[in-house]
């Protein structure tokens, strides 16, 4: 299987934290894990994992490998590996990823697309 899964919570390795009082209006890109406790508007493009904490508010299109949402996201999410909507999160927008998890209690409105074309189907 070509997809190498990362552990669900590599948060200790996350170097970049956007604190709860921070508001970023623009574009964030990078090659490392990103934890957002504040507000980001614009666009986020990462090659690693994005964690939207419960205080985090995103109004942006997101392109990453993994996304874990406990806060609010308005915008489209495209992940190469996995999107996880935790309980008590609020997500408005379309999600495209080979693996999508929506926990009980999560609020979500949008389209889900797990058919990533080139990705190998996983025993289904």
């Amino acid at each position: 299987m070509a997809v190498i899964e990362k552990p669900a919570a590599p948060r200790s390795g996350a170097q970049t934290v956007i604190g709860s009082s921070i508001v970023i209006d623009g574009e964030i890109s990078g090659d490392e894990d990103l934890v957002i406790e504040g507000t980001v508007k614009g666009k986020i493009a990462l090659r690693e994992s994005l964690f939207v904490e419960s205080s985090g508010v995103i109004e942006a299109d997101i392109e990453t490998a993994n996304v874990e949402v406990s806060g609010q996201v308005t915008g489209n999410i495209a992940a190469t590996q996995k999107v996880e909507l935790k309980a008590a999160c609020k997500v408005m927008g379309d999600i495209r990823a080979p693996r999508i998890l929506i926990a009980d209690g999560a609020v979500f409105r949008g389209n889900v697309d797990m058919d990533m074309g080139a990705r190998a189907p996983k025993g289904k």
Binding site: Q15, V17, I22, V23, I24, E27, I28, S29, L34
Partner: protein
Amino acid sequence: MATTSGSTVIGESILINGNLNGDEDLTVRGRVEGTVTLSRTLVVEPSGVVKAEVQVRNCVIAGAVIGNVTATESVEITKEGRMVGDIAAPRVIIVDGASFKGRVDMGEVDVGAERAAPRAALSRAQRPALATARPTARVAREEAVGEAPAPRPPAPPPALGMGAVKRKVVVKRK
């Protein structure tokens, strides 16, 4: 490292392009372009690059900053720090080894007799060369609002909440 837990860190591989506002300390190890407005301290670490219009309370530059920095308290360029741009702050510290190109404006220059004088506006007006050379009206206005009522405390700074400040060379006090 001057970072306190719970503050915001921009990691080495991260690029932020746009406006960044906040009320907490910010440590930059990656790149930030655009504007940075904080009510606390900005720390640019050696790997950090900030190409932005910066408005903060305190600023510690150990990396590279290109752009104007306006601080309500202090700006320090450490020995690893490189900066191109204008600094407007009541306290500006440039240590040996730092590289800097730009203008420094500490507001009213305390020249002996004027030290205790509260007439900041007057003393400012007596320095036409500096006053007219100031790059933007915005900077000048902010200084007038922010600093005029409070003459600079002569004692060493009480408000630096960051351990990294060495206060070795204070380029001013004259």
